[in-house]
Each structure stands twice: as structure tokens, then as C-alpha cells.
């Protein structure tokens, strides 16, 4: 945990410097008759972020905060496994939206999670995996007219569009 604290503070400090640099694409000083330039707000806030990172590093050096003196590991084997299995599945679900749309990726994700991570029966897993997209379709696409992406599965929805939209 102690190593993670200093690594994170350093990364956040680099991010702050990047944001300061990025802010200078617009004027950060005073423009006559216009007031502060467009980059001033984000530039000075990023500068404060940098100061906070240095402050956190100083606290790490003094071992004055709980993470800076903790001997626990940042991520144990269980946490790492769940992070990869759950985070990975969510990432794949979002990636698949570009190809098979939400109505393809959502049932696949639900089926994977419910059956393999949750250990539920095939019946329960199938039932929820199929019911969720149907409810989402009627709530978002039909009732609220927020058309969710369908990817290559779009032609399958044409008959539904002609009935409900």
C-alpha cells in the first residue's frame, strides 16, 4: 500500500503537469477587456493539484496518513482476480457494443456474469439475460425515444421499429 501511495501521487503529479501544459493552449493570463483567458481557470486548478500531490508525497515521507504507513498489499490475489474478471468483462461488453450493439452485448455480459461469476442456474441466467434487453428496449427506444446502438444487428430491429416507433 505504501508503494502504491507514492506511485499514485507521482502519477497524479505528472497528470497535473500535463493538464497545466494542456491549459496553456488557450491564454492563461489577463486579456484586456476580456478578463482571464480561457485556459486560466484550468491552469491554476492544475497547479493546485500539483501542490496537493507534493503535499501527499510529503505526508508519505513523514508516514502520517493511513496508506503511507500501511503494510497491507494494494491488491491481494482475490482482488486482482475479481478486478480482471469483472473489469475485463465490463470492458469487453462496452467493446462489443461497437459490433453487436447494446442488445447483443448486454445479454452476453449478463449470461457470463450470472452463470459463471454468480453461479446461478442456466434457467435464471437465461431468463434475466433475455428479460433485461427487452425491458431496456421498451423503456429507452420505445417510450423515451433514446435509440441505443445496435451495431450489425440493426436489420433485426427493422420489424420492431415499424411496429413501435
Amino acid at each position: 500500500m505504501r508503494r502504491a501511495e507514492i506511485v499514485t501521487a507521482s502519477l497524479m503529479a505528472i497528470l497535473s503537469v500535463y493538464l497545466m501544459w494542456k491549459s496553456t493552449e488557450l491564454p492563461i493570463g489577463w486579456i484586456p477587456n476580456e478578463g482571464p483567458g480561457g485556459g486560466a481557470f484550468s491552469f491554476w486548478l492544475s497547479a493546485v493539484m500539483l501542490i496537493c500531490c507534493i503535499w501527499t508525497m510529503f505526508n508519505w515521507y513523514r508516514r502520517s496518513t493511513p496508506p503511507s504507513k500501511s503494510k497491507d498489499s494494494f491488491m491481494d490475489a482475490y482482488a486482482l482476480r475479481m478486478f480482471l474478471m469483472v473489469g475485463g468483462a465490463v470492458t469487453i461488453m462496452i467493446g462489443l457494443v461497437h459490433f453487436i450493439g447494446m442488445y447483443g452485448s448486454i445479454p452476453l455480459f449478463l449470461l457470463y456474469y450470472l452463470r459463471f461469476l454468480g453461479g446461478h442456474s442456466w434457467t435464471v441466467s437465461f431468463l434475466i439475460s433475455l428479460a433485461a434487453p427487452v425491458i431496456i428496449f421498451f423503456f429507452f427506444d420505445v417510450a423515451l425515444r433514446i435509440v441505443l446502438p445496435k451495431g450489425y444487428l440493426e436489420p433485426l430491429f427493422f420489424p420492431l421499429y415499424s411496429i413501435f416507433l
Partner: protein, 500 residues
């Protein structure tokens, strides 16, 4: 007496069968739209505005006002049940509503949220009835300086009272504000902070992308790690004794809902402020004045009651400048204003003289909508609790799916969904190192109000910062904010001197 007579006539209109029906439909639709992550009252009102042409203008505005109220109640439901704020107005409810649900006290959180919403709504409608025109003019005295001072106060509350690591809290606020600045610079129109020239950053970062990332993805991954196979999210049940206990809690937290209602109403009537800053400030004040301030963030009822009374109160307050001056106080009222113009009504001082039937029918219907919102919300609580009793391994993937859909809905851009995932993973990792993330959400919501207010104030004063301290309203607010900011620095000194 004249007001009471007009209100009586208003009730005769509001209690007509057609209007009662539209109130009930509006509240139920609003409740579900508000409860859905990613959708708030503004989406509901915008989507359903065209449907209101089927009924007379008075019934139409009554329907939309009921929907607006229902969505305010509904926002608390996803905050408490899923830990994802349904809309920005319900962000503050998440801070204590979610911990209460995790403790198995979801029933208490939902009931107190509903009752606090009712109280906030009722107090604000009473204030609206009695003092609409003079209050609208006081609101106009709040210029950019005062608005910025109020925003600074909201941030200072977090730093001074949070009890979290100070540099990490300030870091969180600043990064939220920087994210709020992404997109087109509102004053010069130039693109700003468009990272790696990705076009999706041009439309800015919607607050929901960050909020759903943090609460829907990051918080869920954290819960999965810490629960380690724990089966249910909440085992709460609705019982009569639990209901009565919640009523007693309302008595105990009377100061929180009273200040929440008054503060919410006043912040709500300020142009461009709306219900979100009102509810966040009410939370801050409740924490500041509470004897149990250490319990805030861990499941304190007052932490639910204060923001919920404030956001409903503010939602009524935001109608006030819209009706009396034609200035909308929030995005939702801006759409309502558009609707009124389409119906041939001209908002402004003359509306109260020329369209008495419309104005008083609306005011009376706010009382009616508020009562129905409470009754309908309480009637649905057993259903919400049943959902929470689902095994966590069913609820968790459903929350991930709702996060995906909720992250996509506001801008309908997959760029935002990817950004939400990055924020979620980042939030999960930062949370492990005690970085508080609620201030970042607060900052991205308030940033678009704070930045123009600061820049315009400085432009008016030609770069002179002292102007914030010399104006009669902003001066005292700034001083309180600065006291709160230095409070953590004074704590070690206090311990040093008083421990001897």
C-alpha cells in the same frame, strides 16, 4: 386574504378530475424516470413536452410540474438503492443514503427521503404562495460575485468538514473542476482541453459520465472486493414499527430538514443555480450543525433528510423566477418556460395579473402533486426493497448494465461510455488509497456555474479579487468559506493547546 381566495380558486382547478389524473400519471412517470441512472427531470420534461398539447395549458403545466416533482423523489431511489445518483440533484443523497442501505436500513433511508421531500416541497410551496414577487426581486440581487461566493462555500464545506485527507480532498475538487472545463470555452468559444484531439471531448464531460463511472463502476468493484461473496445488498423490510421509527427520526432531524427546505428554496430561486447546489449546501450545513457530524458519510439520517428536503424545495423555488420574471432557475424550468411560450403564455410579472387561473391552478397543483408524490413513493417502497433483496450476484451485473445505458443516454456517444469506464477504474484504484471522490462529482456539477461567475466578476472588477469581500452579500459568504478552508489547519493547534 386575497391570496387565500386565489389559492382556493386554484384548488378548484387543481382538483378537477382531469388535473388529478394528470398529476398521478406525471408523478408515476417522473418517479421511474428519476430513478433511472442517467435520466432526470430535465429528460422527462423535455421528452414529454410535445405530449402535453393534447390537454389545455393549465393541465399541461400541472402534468409537467407533477413529473418534475416525481423525478425529484425518484432521484433519491437510485442514490439509496444502487449508490448511483439518478440525477445531479440527488448526488448529496448518495453520501449517506447508500451507507444506510448497505447497513440494511434502506427502508429508513427511503421513507425519510420521501417524507423530507414532502416537507421540503410543502414549505417551499407555502413560501411560493406568500412571497413569490418580492422574493424574485431579492434573487436578482445575486450577481456573479455572490454566486461564486456560494460555490466556494460549497467546496469549502467539503474541505473543512469532511474529515478526509486534506490534500486528497482538494485534489479531488480541483480535478472535478478541471474536467468541468473540458469542451468549448463558454466565453471565447474556443476548444479547450481536447485531449489527444479526440472529437468526443468537444462537447465536454457530462457530470453523469463521472458520477456513473465513480458510483456505478468504481464503487461496485470496490463492493465486490470488500464483500467477498456476501449474498445480499440489503435485508431491509418495511414494517409499521420501522415506519414509526422513521417518523421519530424526522422529529430528531427537524433542524436539518428545516434548514434544508429554506436553503434549498432560496438557492433554487437564484438564476442559474437550481436544485443541485441547494441540496449540496443543505448537506454541508446539516453536517456542520450536527452533533453527530462524524457519522455523516457513514449512514446518518440527517444526511439524507437535508439534501432531499432541499432538492424538492429548490425545484419549487426554481419555478419562481421563471413565472414571475421569465428567468429559468434550472435546466428543467428552462424547458417548462419554452412550453409556456408555445402555449401562448408570457412569463413575467403580468402573468400573475392576466393569467390568474393558470398561475393559481399551478400553485395549488403543486400542493396536490407533492401529496401524491409522497403517497405513491411510499406505496412503491416495498417494491424497491424487494429489488434490493436480490442476491448481489444478480444486482451487480444489472447495475453494470444500467451504468452502460445510463452513461450512453445523456449524450448518446460511445466516447462517453469509454470515458465512464476509465473514470470507474480510476475511481476504484484511487478509493483504495483514501482519495475522496464525492468532491470531484460535486465539482464537475458546480464547475460550469462557478467558472463563468468567477471570470465575469473579475472582468467587472478589472481583476480585483477584493471585490468578493467588499460586496454586502458575497463578503460574509466568502469569510465563512475561508474560515471553513482553514479549519483543518487550526485543528492540530487546538489539540496542541487544549490537550495541555
Amino acid at each position: 386574504m386575497e391570496i387565500l381566495g386565489l389559492l382556493y380558486e386554484g384548488f378548484l382547478i387543481a382538483l378537477q378530475p382531469l388535473n388529478i389524473t394528470v398529476v398521478i400519471i406525471g408523478v408515476i412517470v417522473g418517479l421511474f424516470i428519476g430513478a433511472m441512472p442517467g435520466l432526470g427531470s430535465v429528460n422527462g420534461v423535455a421528452i414529454l413536452l410535445p405530449m402535453t398539447f393534447l390537454v389545455p395549458p393549465t393541465s399541461a403545466i400541472i402534468f409537467l410540474a407533477a413529473l418534475y416533482y416525481g423525478a425529484m423523489y425518484g432521484g433519491a431511489i437510485s442514490s439509496i438503492m444502487l449508490g448511483i445518483p439518478g440525477a445531479s440533484t440527488a448526488v448529496a443523497t448518495t453520501f449517506d443514503g447508500r451507507p444506510l442501505a448497505l447497513k440494511g436500513l434502506a427502508d429508513k433511508a427511503l421513507i425519510t427521503a420521501a417524507i423530507a421531500s414532502f416537507i421540503g416541497g410543502t414549505i417551499s410551496v407555502i413560501l411560493f404562495t406568500g412571497f413569490a414577487p418580492p422574493l424574485a426581486h431579492i434573487a436578482l440581487d445575486f450577481g456573479d460575485h455572490e454566486i461564486f461566493a456560494l460555490m466556494l462555500l460549497a467546496f469549502a464545506t467539503f474541505v473543512g468538514l469532511s474529515g478526509d485527507d486534506i490534500p486528497k480532498t482538494i485534489f479531488s475538487i480541483c480535478i472535478g473542476l478541471v474536467f468541468s472545463a473540458v469542451g468549448l470555452d463558454i466565453m471565447s468559444g474556443e476548444p479547450r482541453l481536447v485531449f489527444f484531439d479526440i472529437i468526443g471531448f468537444m462537447h465536454g464531460i457530462n457530470f453523469l459520465v463521472l458520477a456513473i463511472g465513480i458510483y456505478g463502476i468504481g464503487e461496485m468493484m470496490w463492493t465486490i472486493e470488500t464483500n467477498r461473496g456476501d449474498s445480499a445488498m440489503s435485508k431491509a423490510v418495511l414494517t409499521l414499527s420501522g415506519f414509526l421509527g422513521s417518523l421519530r427520526d424526522m422529529g430528531r432531524t427537524w433542524f436539518s430538514w428545516m434548514t434544508g427546505s429554506l436553503l434549498g428554496f432560496f438557492v433554487g430561486i437564484l438564476p442559474a443555480a437550481g436544485a443541485t447546489p441547494g441540496s449540496l449546501m443543505a448537506y454541508g450545513v446539516a453536517k456542520m450543525t450536527s452533533k453527530d457530524s462524524d457519522n455523516f458519510g457513514k449512514g446518518e439520517v440527517a444526511g439524507v433528510v437535508a439534501p432531499e428536503s432541499a432538492n424538492n424545495s429548490a425545484s419549487t423555488g426554481a419555478l419562481l423566477p421563471m413565472l414571475t420574471l421569465g428567468i429559468p432557475g434550472s435546466p428543467t424550468t428552462a424547458i417548462l418556460l419554452g412550453g409556456m411560450v408555445i402555449w401562448g403564455l408570457v412569463p413575467g410579472p403580468l402573468l400573475f395579473v392576466e393569467e390568474k387561473e393558470f398561475v393559481w391552478g399551478l400553485i395549488a397543483s403543486l400542493y396536490v402533486a407533492n401529496l401524491f408524490s409522497l403517497l405513491i413513493n411510499v406505496a412503491f417502497i416495498p417494491l424497491f426493497l424487494w429489488v434490493l433483496k436480490m442476491p448481489f450476484t444478480i444486482l451487480a451485473p444489472i447495475i453494470f448494465v444500467l451504468s452502460l445505458v445510463g452513461g450512453y443516454s445523456p449524450t448518446q456517444d460511445m466516447h462517453d461510455v469509454w470515458l465512464m469506464l476509465i473514470f470507474g477504474v480510476g475511481a476504484y484504484l484511487l478509493r483504495k488509497l483514501d482519495y475522496p471522490l464525492a468532491p470531484a462529482v460535486l465539482a464537475i456539477v458546480l464547475g460550469p456555474i462557478a467558472e463563468p461567475a468567477l471570470r465575469q466578476s473579475l472582468l467587472i472588477s478589472n481583476g480585483d479579487f477584493t471585490v468578493f469581500f467588499t460586496r454586502p452579500i458575497s463578503g460574509p459568504i466568502m469569510i465563512i468559506a475561508i474560515i471553513l478552508l482553514v479549519l483543518p489547519a487550526l485543528k492540530p493547534l487546538k489539540n496542541k493547546f487544549f490537550s495541555k
